[in-house]
Symmetry: C2
Subunit: 140 residues, 2 copies
Amino acid sequence: MATPRKISGPCQAWPKDSAYIREVLDRIGEKWTVLIISTLSAGSLRYSDVQASIPGISQRMLTQTLKHLERDGLITRTAYAEVPPRVEYELTDLGRSLIDAVTAMAGWAAAHHTEIANNRAASELTGVGRGKAAISATAD
Amino acid sequence: MATPRKISGPCQAWPKDSAYIREVLDRIGEKWTVLIISTLSAGSLRYSDVQASIPGISQRMLTQTLKHLERDGLITRTAYAEVPPRVEYELTDLGRSLIDAVTAMAGWAAAHHTEIANNRAASELTGVGRGKAAISATAD
DNA sequence: CGGGATCCTTCTTGATACTG
DNA sequence: CAGTATCAAGAAGGATCCCG
């Protein structure tokens, strides 16, 4: 696990680890990755079904994200040479192993999004986190 | 990021949930959020310490991300009116509650990043996920 | 049906320079 | 020290048209 190193001196909590962490996180944060993974967790689905399951996703992004996921070995793509073309996408074992982490994240979101929304709204009124910062403490 | 309206069609795996899920995920995927959260999980740190702990982060992004996190109530900011200005950042309870989810994600990344790298390298050779797609299956 | 190829707009990020 | 302000480059995302 990537627990930050000890912080002291010319501290550097994240050595080189941050590299692959960020690399993975970048893919996860690709805006549609999580939705697609979650959608496919139900089982094998064809292109149009995935698209229909994710409101707002554009054709371009769906295709692109699916390709990225395929390249990373998170999903498999199976094309059938039928009269009306049919392509099925399905999570690989690796892809399924990500479901838990994604679910944990989604669970956290579900559990705290209201709180976050409240904090954000409150900050809007008090001006916290934006504009000039007030001195909230004095040095003795 | 233009929240998409409803498109059309019946099937819809992600109802309206996707909204806040994406909202949270967007913040998580903010490229530096995870590193900052992880860094602060060690305890209260001042601005320059956080910066020193995260190689590659720019002043601008550090400040911006910290503000976002403060607005969402994930961290607190405490400024001391001292001769050399001092500002301490610390995770709130809400912020600490995110550590587990983030750690899970980081753990997954640590456990599978090699596998992913291999898949990606292999795809590079076979052409999977890029360019023309081959028919990998026929309909009987 | 399942994309591929383009064009265009917006958002994100980094580099710089300046301030209390 | 701890930001703020501004600018410019690049990546991400969306809309559209076309093809097998």
